[in-house]
Amino acid sequence: MVDPATASRLQFAVTTVVHIIFPVMSMGLAPFLVYFTWKEIRTGEELYERLRRFWTKIFAVSFAVGTVTGLVLEFEFGTNFAAFSAAAGELFGGPLAVEGMMAFFLEATFLGVFVFGRERVSDRLYFVSSVMVGLGTWLSAVWILVANSWMQTPRGFEVARESGQLTILLTDPIAAYANPRFPWMFVHMQNAAVLSVALFMAGIAAYHVYRRRHLGVVDEGNLDGEFWRATLKIALVVLIVTAPLQVLHGDAYGRHVAETQPQKFAAMEAVWETDSYVPEYIIAFPTSVDDLLNPRAKDIFGIGIPGGASWLASGGNPQAEITGLNEFEGSPPVAIVFWSFRAMVAMGFWFMLLAFWAGYRWWTGDLYEDRLLHKALMASSVLGIVGVELGWIVTEVGRQPWVIQGVMKTTEGVSPGLTAAEATLTLAGFVGGYLVLLSLYTYVIGRLIRRGPAPREEAADRDAPSPASAGAGEDD
């Protein structure tokens, strides 16, 4: 049996880590779908129709899984973190309710039109649907991040206590919801989603281009080859724009964390004693493997930029002082935060390198010839999503022990009456169930990708008006 608090935290971690994959897919794919739909309607070219059809399939599967896993999260606030929900509902529940009304409805209803309505609605309404779906996915992120940013840097509230029972009252909505953390989180997350999907697309396209070009797969009518080459180029354009941006605003975001959540920043850099001129370790590795997860290990093999962490925290001053973890009450699991942050930053730079490399090859005219580039893109196809996961681990693990920074500890937020048996049972259920879910999703997506877009005949068949739909009308 796992104690209820630990089980609840693990369960929430498992559900968020799995859930986030699907919103990233839908937020990132949405702008591509809007573009494909626009081009299809404007040019009438078959290529864009095939692009739209193919990526809509991936979107639809991701969205279905995202809906159900997201519903789980909403319920978990009540089932597992009832004390938090009761105390902070006045501030935290509102954004969630508005997310449902403003964003989720938009997304879910227009997705019905977008996925099933190509032959039923006008081009204009069809295009509008693609925009609405995209707007819905992005607005969804807005409200979730409004709620989350308030937990990171809470403002605009008053705390009341009655016999130890904590209640948080909203006093200043503008301070609370126009939270200073929000813009950083939103820009970093949104760009990450688009970047992740661009990498995913580029990886898949590279796989098909590589197979055709280097393994001699026969192109029937050269149509699929054209499809994948076009996909590769579109994905690369987006990658070249988003990869450097991610690093740039990531840096500014880090500075904001250093200012407003010094404890998290200290965990990201594993700084225990307050110090100035703190180095930024580019490579840091303990000389003994036993110390791998021990952030306090003394024997570290590291290559550090002298004063680098201080420079990052202050925005340019290598002499700046960083408050060490020892000065705070409690601390997050530092090793997790430290390694996740390093891995995320390393990936950020790798994506930028990859973007420049691909851009250079495009410019020199051998984008379709560089086998190593194709392999690198294939290997990196899901790394964007891994990077998002790591970023969220830094954000969420890094703010522990607080569920609401400086106001409420995570352990205080757990449902008081939850038994170890109940919590353990559902935890086991989730770990098992979500593993099955993920394997099924991977299997289905993998299958769609290997098969590529529907063959020309099938696509043409679908366009012919069927007798059933042509005769559709009122029958009551």
Binding site: R52, K57, A86, G93, G94, L96, M101, T109, E162
Partner: protein
């Protein structure tokens, strides 16, 4: 199973900060307004997604491959949007009555995870079903679809009745309420399939609907009998409001049967909606002014403080008309029967 959390501190803190306990707009206390809104969201969800659940149950009763695909195609464009009403119900309960949301959801811990499991199966099954044309794959996803579609309303019915009765475990009355909700959803689903499909499947739907509506009414009688065994509920039931709702349900049930016999699917669907509304309204009327019996919190005590509830009300007032517009677009785009080939 789990102890109640009663942070009546909301009320107390309001006193301390000098904010009036009750926020009243145009003579309507916002607590009462949100009480109605939360239950209205629940009713809309149980009606709209109810026909999707009903279609899932009917799916189990049809062996023909083409008819099964017709069932899936019929709900394809709609179920996602319909399910969002559940998200909004949960979200608005959380936002407006956080203490009740926390107490209710943590107390029905395993039951709600059962609901989630059912909804996961129901949500993924249609999407995965069509990814492979092999028999084994489709058989399994078909089963997942049925289990999810029947399990979700059954468990939600138990949850709703438990809420009303203030029960922790599972009462006999709650199980009957769960079964009643499944029957009611099959009636809605049959009326919906009559509209959205063609051929033998559509032709047999009025029969399905009549049997399901009859089963619902019979189960409601059993339910009322079981409720009458509880003195507190019995006393509350003998009042004009509840009596009107029960009588109304029976009248609507008869209306459903007549409409189905005369093959008027829109009217049948409307009466099914009326019955779903009456079911939820009965729960709400019996609860009021308490939001949840075990915590004992009344609407006035459980509602969030002044600026928060005002903000929420303005937000909802602006957004709900938009949401209804989206639904109008969706349902009018897919009026009439839906062909199994329609997608992308």
């Amino acid at each position: 199973m789990t102890e109640a959390i009663a942070p009546s501190a909301t009320g107390l803190a309001s006193l301390e900060t000098g904010v009036p306990l009750e926020t009243v707009w145009f003579g309507v206390p916002l607590g009462d307004l949100w009480f109605v809104v939360v239950f209205a969201f629940l009713a809309i969800f149980l009606f709209l997604d109810g026909w999707d659940f009903g279609v899932g149950a009917i799916f189990a009763l049809r062996d023909d491959h083409h008819e099964r695909e017709q069932c899936l195609a019929a709900i394809g464009p709609f179920w996602d949007g319909n399910e969002v009403w559940l998200v909004v119900f949960g979200g608005s309960l959380f936002a407006a009555f956080p203490a009740v949301y926390a107490a209710l959801f943590s107390r029905h811990y395993l039951l709600l995870f059962g609901v989630l499991a059912a909804l996961i199966l129901r949500g993924m099954a249609p999407e995965f079903y069509e990814q492979r044309e092999t028999e084994g794959w489709q058989t399994w996803w078909g089963r997942a679809f049925v289990v999810g579609s029947v399990g979700a309303p059954f468990l939600l019915g138990i949850f709703t009745a438990n809420w009303l009765l203030g029960v922790d475990g599972i009462a006999a009355a709650s199980v009957v309420a769960g079964l009643a909700l499944v029957a009611l959803n099959v009636a809605s689903g049959a009326a919906f399939l009559r509209l959205k499909t063609t051929g033998p499947l559509a032709d047999e739907m009025p029969d399905y609907g009549i049997r399901a509506a009859a089963a619902y009414l019979a189960l409601v009688v059993v339910l009322l009998g079981l409720l009458a065994l509880r003195p507190a509920v019995r006393d509350a039931l003998v009042a004009p409001g509840p009596v009107a709702l029960v009588v109304g349900s029976v009248a609507l049930g008869v209306g459903f049967v007549v409409a189905a016999r005369r093959d008027r699917p829109y009217v049948a669907l409307g009466t099914a909606g009326g019955m779903t509304g009456a079911f939820v309204a009965l729960v709400a009327v019996l609860l009021y002014p308490t939001v949840e019996p075990l915590t004992g919190l009344t609407v006035e005590e459980a509602i969030i403080g002044a600026p928060a509830v005002e903000l929420l009300t303005v937000g909802a007032a602006l957004l709900i008309p938009l949401v209804l517009t989206y639904f109008a677009v969706l349902y009018s785009a897919f009026s009439g029967p839906i062909d199994v080939e329609e997608s992308y």
